[in-house]
């Protein structure tokens, strides 16, 4: 570590000015849980650190009529506290609660999770399933970019020199809509996710799957939308056959993607189970063979349909 200059930015303009002034020599530090290790192991070599973890406006979560907007420096603990009790957002709560340990969740930020761009970043799949939109700010102004387009490669995101990720927003969930998350492995503190899926599901008044978005973690260079699984489910009655079919389609897709890798055999099977779990979580069995999206009111299944 060869750090010469450090700044605790008070607001976004100050952070942007510093990033602009120091260019390639500078990096943002938020919770520090990825970058401090990288600096100590010399994987990242910069001489200037700009701390954004004390910028108040980046630590807010706001729900408006149409959007939920979260500041980039919001921690996982803050995500869990904010959405607590809102079952429709269980995928966000669960993904946050599975990150590291309490100490890590108290420091680690959602912006850092995205910008670090690990294939195993836990918060990325649920945000992809919510089709999140990011705001990036730099000297030249603001721009919006979809999370899916922001992730370029393992460890690489669409941030130009001097730019800061400031907010992450998604359309507020309504009745019949829910996002869920399922991760493989024991619920063990500090186990970095090996494989996960997140599902966004919207059920219409006819009990059909009106909209669905599926995303995965650790089965590609970064978190990915799994469109074949989405296409397989969309418009269908959410019965066992339709869900099983979608999980097979996803498994085949993963097999194609990972062909030749030692992890392929395992992951193509594991993804099926993990996907089924995420879909199941999005539905509540009503005891009479009918399902409803979790966190919403009872959705009666039209008589005679099963």
């Amino acid at each position: 570590m060869d750090i010469k200059n450090v700044f605790q930015a008070k607001d976004v303009p100050e952070a942007i000015n510093l990033l602009d002034q120091y260019g390639e020599a500078a990096k943002v530090i938020a919770g520090g849980t990825d970058i401090i290790i990288a600096l100590r192991e010399n994987h990242v070599k910069v001489s200037v650190l700009v701390d954004i973890s004390s910028i108040k406006e980046l630590k807010e979560i706001k729900t408006s009529d149409d959007w939920v907007e979260m500041g980039a420096a919001v921690t996982f603990t803050e995500v869990m506290d904010y959405f607590k009790g809102h079952k429709e957002y269980s995928g966000l709560i669960e993904a946050a609660s599975l990150v590291g340990s309490p100490q890590i969740r108290n420091a680690a930020t959602i912006g850092g999770n995205i910008c670090n761009a690990s294939p195993a970043a836990d918060f990325v799949p649920p945000l992809l399933a919510l089709d999140a939109v990011l705001t990036v700010e730099g000297k030249e102004g603001k721009r919006e970019v979809r999370l899916e387009d922001f992730l370029l490669d393992k460890g690489r995101v669409d941030l130009n020199k001097g730019e800061l990720l400031t907010t992450i927003k998604f359309i507020r969930l309504r009745k019949g809509q829910t996002v869920t998350f399922s991760k493989l492995g024991l619920r063990k503190a500090l186990a970095i996710s090996r494989l996960s899926t997140a599902v966004y599901l919207e059920i219409d008044d006819d009990e059909k799957c009106a909209e669905v978005r599926v995303a995965s973690g650790s089965i590609g260079k970064h978190g990915l939308r799994e469109r074949v699984a989405e296409e397989s489910l969309k418009g269908k009655n959410l019965d066992k056959a339709a869900i099983d079919e979608a999980s097979k389609v996803l498994s085949n897709e993963v097999e194609k993607r990972l062909a030749g890798r030692s992890s392929c055999e395992f992951k193509k099977d594991a993804v099926e189970g993990i996907f089924l779990k995420a879909v199941e979580k999005a539905m509540v069995h009503n005891g009479d063979g009918s399902y409803c999206a979790m966190g919403t009111q009872y959705y009666p299944r039209a008589a005679g349909k099963e």
Binding site: V6, G31, G32, L49, S54, T77, P102, Q103
Partner: protein
């Protein structure tokens, strides 16, 4: 060099620090508060746990300059003029301390947990200390002491 102001265990400090210093190094090497331990140095073990602005963090995962204008509690700040903190007393009463290396971090994680949730279940206690590794005790006695501490604190409140 960079100047920072930090409140540690109720006392204000203004100090010059090296830019590349971690909060853990600042606490141990500058302030000579040796109760905060370095185990792994990578956020895994929790031996370096401190409470910063009300929440536990691994001080090996925080740069010292980031602690500017923050309020920090280390294990040294748990005791007051009346003696040990009830959580510390509970650890002794239950015989939960063996080599002691993990204990400062355990006690601070227990405090953060009990501040937020005064009557945790055993499961919640285990979750609360899941970022603190212990090589000696097998955790049961530590969980017992946090249950006992919860009772001690309840008694104090009455």
């Amino acid at each position: 060099m960079k100047t920072i102001n930090v409140k540690i265990n109720g006392e204000n400090y203004t100090r010059e620090i090296n830019e590349d210093m971690r909060l853990l190094d600042f606490i141990r090497d500058e302030l000579k508060l040796y109760g905060t331990k370095e185990g792994c140095g990578e956020g895994e073990c929790g031996a370096c746990t401190v409470i910063m602005d009300g929440v536990t963090v691994n001080s090996c995962m925080v740069m010292a300059f980031q602690a500017n204008n923050k309020e920090i509690l280390t294990i040294e700040g748990m005791e007051d003029e009346k003696g040990l903190h009830p959580i510390q007393q509970a650890f002794l009463d239950e015989g939960a301390v063996q080599c002691g290396f993990c204990i400062p971090g355990m006690v601070l994680s227990a405090k953060a947990l009990l501040d937020k949730n005064p009557k945790p279940s055993r499961k919640e206690i285990k979750e609360g200390i899941s970022g603190n590794l212990c090589r000696c005790t097998g955790y049961n006695k530590i969980v017992d002491s946090i249950e006992k501490a919860s009772q001690y604190l309840e008694g104090e409140d009455q």
